[in-house]
């Protein structure tokens, strides 16, 4: 039986003890480190990005995050590539606000796409500097030196050599980088050195295992839920039973029999703390609160889409308008139109959010699972009235993160409780909070119209979405106005407005793509507030737009692949559609298939999407049980182009996760609510794809484009999944489902 080393990086505790003092090629050793004498953290310093330990191991300081898809591995590969060291010798430190600059955290799948740029530049610069230093020490021009595995040697005289450890190990690079002055996703820093051309890559492009997997599999990796701080109390929050209700009275006596319980209340914010976690859980259940009589704020669930149709528009944008739309529809020989609906969906992370905060008079420490720990730190500082630099944010892996979930709320809740009781407090939600009170992916409707001429050519195309904003709650937690705690304490909503349009390159003769947002359902802390959920608004928009493209094809009796290829303009889009169809042995014919008999119906569908520099086409093959109306996504064929590929195996697993989560959202997921509250508050009322319903295969075709920069892959392949499934259901059954999810309850009656 094989043995496994738990990677040292998995057990890495604090970056502080790694590097010992500072020095420079031709510069001055300035300081000893370990804390106080550490150089200031700033994007315009090379030592804020990279350090070399005494033993020659490299530390890369990454200001974005990995949430389990191996972004940190890709960053290690990029750094190792530029420095010419083995990837095993690169430690990636991320998510600690004392050691990493704010590159925006996990955000829009830009970990490699944007987050990798300064790291690549810094590693190239470090290699240049180290070669220069070796040149001085060895008395040989730099162009007569080569670097292998972190050792600089004279070409043709390999005995004359110096390792990176010997050259600078344990000392910092006290050198400048050029910084564009931005913080977050768009931060760019560069040195004098130019990174390698892709044809010189030896490490980038190689499949490299994840660093964290062994520790996770042996139960040795601590999550944020596992943080224990001396003196720590356990906290739980109390949420209103009717959304919007305010507490009129809190009866502390109702929990007095539970040892050590304290109730903390500030306006609508109610929390309890206890020495023992189980006591906190029970006290939160038992605490008697008298709530205000509040009119239930939500529409009936069955009236959700009518509400969206009728609600006043808060903001409208028309990001794409080409050609003469109105004449196209006036002169059309035929008009095809359809409307689609997508429900609220929940992050439904594996665990409800958790955070630990130690709030002291002069500063605070935050342990958070937020995927944007720098911003989470800012939010806690704001909530505590402390300067940002007095709050140390430490990311520890959380129980799943796919956007702006409940993690940010937990941080601010813990901060306020800790401040109130003067001790560190760990807050974890209960399941009903994870499902019921997380910010939701927005519900929406999508109207599509196509004008066809007498030959069936598309001469006009209009696609308009209307829904709740994707950023009713902001993408990050830096402002407590966007947290439950802040809103419960009376901070006014600052609903931001945003939605999106289909991401495609159909060259229809005229085209208008627009969106409209509507107001949130409640003007205060709401279980139906909306925010970023993996590929924000992408699955719903593309569900509608790619379903509609199939509807146009069906209207003119065209094969769905042939129809797409007739109109697609972007070469990479054409390439993925062709690659998916070819791998799927796509047999050109119109949908639905003519022979639709028997208890088990089968069919295939295609959909495609662009996303921020990536492009994906997916063929779904489904089976439908006519007796139950249940859809099984039997097989997917995915053609995926995200530019230069850094880690092919890592990418494949990332795509698999996208496709399975996308299948779950397409077939099963819908937040249920009544007029007072969210009612889908556990895994029974909010089912996700069970493993008995997992596909038989997810077949992936990776298209590598070394000539292009790497784009993100964390969300691009979830985008076309729902449409591919809906199109396959239509092909198999002749039934066009325009409301997601595609449940048996919706399909069975239509199968008759």
């Amino acid at each position: 039986m094989a043995q496994f080393a738990i990677d040292r990086r998995s057990l890495f505790k604090g970056a502080g003890a790694l590097v010992v003092s500072i020095g420079l090629p031709g510069g001055v050793a300035t300081a000893e480190i370990g804390g106080a004498m550490k150089p200031p953290l700033s994007p315009d310093r090379l030592d804020s990005w990279l350090a070399v330990k005494a033993d020659g191991d490299v530390v890369a300081y990454f200001g974005k995050m990995d949430m389990g898809q191996g972004v940190d591995v890709a960053i290690a590969q990029i750094v190792a590539e530029e420095l010419d060291v083995p990837v095993e010798r690169v430690n990636v430190v991320m998510g600690d606000t004392a050691w990493t600059v704010n590159q925006g955290g996990a955000s829009g799948s830009t970990g490699i796409q944007k987050g990798g740029i300064p790291l690549r530049n810094a590693a190239a610069e470090a290699r240049r500097v180290l070669a220069e230093l070796a040149s001085q020490r060895l008395g040989v021009p730099a162009d007569r030196l080569e670097v292998t595995d972190g050792v600089v040697a004279v070409i043709g005289d390999p005995a004359r050599k110096l390792s990176y450890g010997e050259l600078i190990g344990g000392r910092y690079f006290d050198l400048p980088m050029t910084w564009n002055g931005k913080i977050g996703n768009d931060l760019v820093a560069e040195g004098q050195a130019k990174p390698k051309p892709p044809n010189a890559h030896k490490i980038v492009g190689q499949s490299t295992p994840r660093f964290d997997v062994p520790a996770k599999v042996f139960g040795k990796l601590d999550y944020v839920t596992d943080i224990k701080v001396p003196g720590m109390l356990h906290g739980r929050m109390i949420r209103p039973p009717v959304a919007g209700a305010l507490p009129l009275a809190v009866d502390d006596g109702s929990v007095r029999d539970i040892a050590g319980v304290q109730v903390i209340r500030d306006k609508g914010f109610i929390g309890i703390v206890a020495e023992r976690e189980w006591d906190a859980v029970q006290a939160a259940e038992r605490l008697r609160v008298t709530w205000s009589e509040t009119a239930p704020p939500f529409p009936e669930m069955a009236a959700l889409y009518d509400h969206i149709r009728q609600a006043p528009v808060v903001k409208r944008e028309v990001p794409v308008a080409t050609g003469e739309i109105d004449p196209a529809f006036t002169s059309a020989a035929r008009i095809v139109e359809a409307e689609y609906e997508w429900p609220f969906q929940s992050h439904a992370s594996m665990g409800p959010a958790c955070a630990v905060v130690d709030a002291r008079a002069d500063g605070a420490t935050l342990w958070t699972g937020s995927q944007k720990p720098h911003f989470a730190r800012d939010g806690v500082a704001h909530a505590l009235g402390l300067p940002q630099d007095k709050v140390h944010g430490i990311w520890v892996p959380g129980p799943g993160s796919y956007g702006r979930n409940d993690a940010g709320d937990a941080g601010i809740d813990a901060a306020l409780l800790s401040k109130a009781v003067g001790r560190p407090v760990r807050v974890q939600g209960m399941r009903y909070e994870g499902h019921g009170w997380d910010p939701k992916g927005p519900a929406s409707i999508h109207r599509a119209r196509a004008a066809l001429d007498k030959d069936g050519a598309v001469i006009g195309y209009v696609f308009e979405s209307k829904g709740f904003s994707r950023i009713d709650i902001d993408t990050n937690e830096s402002d407590p106005s966007h947290s439950l705690a802040g809103q419960l304490m009376g901070l006014p909503l600052k609903s931001l407005q945003g939605f999106g349009v289909p991401a495609e390159s159909y060259g229809f003769a005229s085209k208008r793509l627009a969106w409209e947002t509507i107001a949130p359902l409640l003007d205060r802390a709401s279980p139906l507030r909306t925010a970023h959920l993996r590929d924000p608004v992408g699955p719903q928009i593309q569900f509608a737009s790619e379903s509609f493209v199939d509807e146009i094809a069906a209207a003119i009796g065209a094969d769905p692949v042939v129809f797409r290829l007739r109109y697609l303009k972007a070469p990479r889009d054409i390439a993925v559609v062709k690659a998916a169809a070819e791998r799927a042995h796509w047999d050109p014919r119109p949908s639905p298939r003519p022979d639709r008999n028997g208890d088990i119906l089968s069919g295939r569908g295609i959909a495609y999407a662009q996303r921020s520099g990536a492009v994906v086409a997916i063929v779904a093959e489904v089976e439908i049980d006519r007796r139950t109306g249940k859809v099984w996504a039997r097989k997917f064929i995915v053609a995926h182009d995200c530019g230069l590929i850094i880690n092919p195996d890592g990418l494949r697993r990332c795509i698999e996760g996208n496709v399975v989560q996308g299948t779950s959202r397409a077939l099963a997921e819908e937040v249920a609510f009544d007029r007072a509250k969210v009612t889908s508050t556990d895994w029974t009322s909010y089912p996700i794809l069970d493993i008995t319903d997992a596909p038989e295969a997810v077949d992936i075709v990776l298209i590598n484009r070394p000539e292009l920069p790497p784009a993100g892959a964390g969300e691009s392949s979830i985008r076309p999944v729902a449409a591919a499934l809906a199109n396959a259901v239509f092909d198999a059954s002749g039934v066009r489902l325009r409301r997601a999810p595609l449940t048996p309850e919706r399909l069975k009656p239509a199968l008759a």
């Binding site: 599999v217 139960g219 129980p399 989560q661 996700i688």
Partner: protein, 154 residues
């Protein structure tokens, strides 16, 4: 009122004074300091808290610790170690299964009992045996590959 409760945890006899209705999960995590079983739902729906109690996969979030008195409790960390991995742990590493990994206790502990009782399961037996467990990252395909791999290695 706290009671004295004795059970075996990963091969060591442990004695605690605790309210007997406290779920085993909280005792293992907080009183006994073993972090690997995790709180996911507290409703026995997701599996993140799964341990073996006398060999049976059990949702420790919903088992009063008093019911574990006198039993042998094994957690993921007690199933195998880097030096002596359980075949499923080896397979989960080879297949690079977890993403966030918070769900792993459920999958590995349940599959371990499945493979013990059914060493050469069919695909359907694997799927049925793991039904109900949750993975939000969607690593279903890799989980199935890993369980098949471990079954073949047995």
């Amino acid at each position: 009122m706290a009671e004295r409760i004795v059970f075996e945890l990963n091969g060591e006899t442990r004695t605690i004074e605790v309210a007997p209705d406290t779920p085993l999960l909280y005792v293992v995590r907080n009183e006994l300091g073993l972090n690997n079983p995790r709180f996911g739902c507290g409703l026995a729906q997701c599996g993140a808290c799964t341990v073996h109690v006398d060999g049976a996969p059990t949702r420790s979030c919903s088992l009063p610790v008093s019911a574990a008195a006198g039993t042998k409790v094994t957690t993921l960390a007690g199933l195998g170690t880097p030096e002596h991995p359980h075949p499923l742990q080896a397979a989960f590493i080879v297949e690079q299964v977890p993403q966030c990994g918070y769900c792993l206790n459920g999958w590995i502990m349940t599959a371990a009992a499945l493979l013990r009782d059914t060493p050469h399961p069919s695909e359907q037996q694997i799927r049925d045996g793991l039904s109900g467990l949750k993975c939000r990252c969607g690593t279903h395909m890799a989980i199935l590959r890993a369980v098949r791999r471990a079954a073949q290695a047995a």
